[in-house]
Amino acid sequence: METLFFTIVAAVAVLSSILVITCKNPINSALSLVMTFFCLATFYVMLDAPFMAAIQVIVYAGAIMVLIVFVIMLLNIRSETGKRTNHAVAVSSILAFFVLFEACYFLFRSTPAKEGMGPLTSNVIEKIGHTELIGKAMYSEFLLPFEITSLLLLVAIIGAVILSKKKI
């Protein structure tokens, strides 16, 4: 049952991510990307990470993609009809190929862990709660990176305000 469900969602994910790059219309591509994010959220749920799934939907599908759609609408980008090949496309496709190759290499090289499960098993997550575990780790063990990230975000916000407003 779970495998069947996974296969269906994975098929939708692959199909929609192919549509992201093949759609002529940028808005349709953006919509396909939302669909892909949604499928990824489903995978997070199946991997016992409901908090990640919710954040994936709220932040990526709900906020970032809305802004992207917004920008596409405002810039009024025409559908890409002609064929355009330049160096950037060639270089990025070569890079993507290398990344894929590396991923496959490590995937085939890997073996199951010998020591068994780590401390965070499905049972622990179910008992304490995924959100609570992430919150505890973030505010104790990873406090410094967390604070640095928030400072960076603050700088980015101020930068955006200064860039967009000529007169303050």
Binding site: E2, N28, A53, A54, V57, G62, V66, M73, G129
Partner: protein, 363 residues
């Protein structure tokens, strides 16, 4: 998921029954909310509202539905067809599926099985408590943020200036008010210590079924509850925040080019969103299905939701529409700072006095 498959078949029957009952109930509420809105506003303006169709106009929603169903479907020639067709669906679906996590009553016993009145939950007899989605509130927030797409796409794909302006206004408005609403919900998290809606409702039980409501627990959550409700009204684009469809300036905005059933879907989505938002406010701040014991839980839930829906209509009949810059100022410069301060104040209050209702100190 494997644990779910091991359950006795009664659970599946119960689950399907819950889905059907809740869905039909919400659909009927949506249909009759349109009638109620016309009646309520009619009475408030000293008119009678719909009177001709059936007894006191009771068949009006059905007549409207039939009329819209048989209208000609028009797709503008220059429209982007795919987005134009899916936009009403994207608007409608998130409004309905939010109901999957809202608890609308206490546990009931059927043939010896305990069944919680919440769609996405099961009663685990071994542990002796209800298991539900433990990120319920985030699920609702996620669905609310997906609702934007329907309106934005409708506005863009119609290829009309009015629609585009409506769509742009809608997205800016929804994104701005989502923040304040989310921050107001954080005060609830602070009080309950859990993201599961079932836990949040269970935590609001108290003397007479009223004193435990988060709205009355402490002054900070009282203000947060009111702000949450206002922000929710703004997020679903109802008057006085109905800038995206302002018929006097934008000729009904994002749905200008829509006709027939697709227009009806937007109409349904608007009312379904209203019902959802009222149900969420009830669950988070008004104690869910808790109430004085002389009525069963689900009746209290329905009564509270209907009262909030009435409040929405009341607000619509009372206040004029905001100007666009006023709307943005209200969201970013008033509600956002207030809710930010409220989060800190609630935390301080809990540190000082705990999560007990504030009047328990006086008495």
């Amino acid at each position: 998921m494997d644990a779910l498959l091991a359950l006795p078949p009664m659970y599946y029957v119960a689950m399907v029954a819950k889905v059907l009952v809740a869905f039909v109930f919400v659909l009927l509420t949506v249909a009759y909310a349109t009638y109620a809105e016309r009646k309520v506003i009619g009475f408030m303006q000293v008119r009678l509202g719909p009177m001709r169709t059936g007894w006191y106009g009771l068949l009006q929603p059905i007549a409207d539905g039939l009329k819209l169903f048989f209208k000609e479907e028009i797709i503008p020639k220059q429209a982007s067809t795919f987005a134009f067709l899916v936009a009403p669906l994207i608007a409608l679906v998130p409004a309905f599926i939010s109901f999957a996590v809202i608890p609308f009553g206490g546990n009931i016993e059927v043939f010896g099985y305990t069944i919680p009145l919440q769609i996405a939950s099961v009663y685990d007899p071994q542990v002796g408590k209800v298991l539900d989605l433990n990120v319920g509130v985030l699920y609702i927030l996620g669905m609310a943020s997906l609702g934007v797409y329907g309106i934005v796409l409708a506005g863009w794909s119609s290829n009309s200036k009015y629609s585009l302006l409506g769509g742009l206004r809608a997205s800016a408005q929804m994104i701005s008010y989502e923040l304040a609403a989310g921050l107001a919900i954080i005060t609830v998290f602070l009080m309950s210590g859990s993201l599961s809606l079932n836990q949040i409702v269970a935590d609001q039980a108290g003397a007479f079924g009223v004193t435990g409501w988060y709205l009355f627990r402490n002054p900070c959550t009282f203000v947060a509850g009111i702000i949450f409700f206002i922000c929710s009204i703004a997020e679903i684009n109802r008057t006085p925040f109905d800038l995206p469809e302002a018929e006097t300036e934008l000729v009904s905005g994002f749905c200008t080019e829509y006709s027939s059933m697709k227009y009806a879907m937007f109409f349904m989505a608007e009312y379904a969103n209203m019902v959802t938002v009222c149900a969420v406010t009830t669950t988070l701040f008004l104690g869910g299905w808790h109430g004085p014991a002389f009525l069963p839980g689900w009746m209290w839930f329905v009564a509270k939701v209907y009262f909030l829906i009435f409040c929405c209509m009341w607000i619509r009949a009372t206040y004029p529409r905001y100007r666009y810059d006023q709307l943005m100022r209200l969201g970013w410069k008033v509600f956002l700072p207030i809710t930010l301060v409220l989060v800190v104040l609630t935390a301080l209050w809990i540190m000082a006095f705990g999560t007990e209702p504030w009047f328990s100190f006086i008495m």
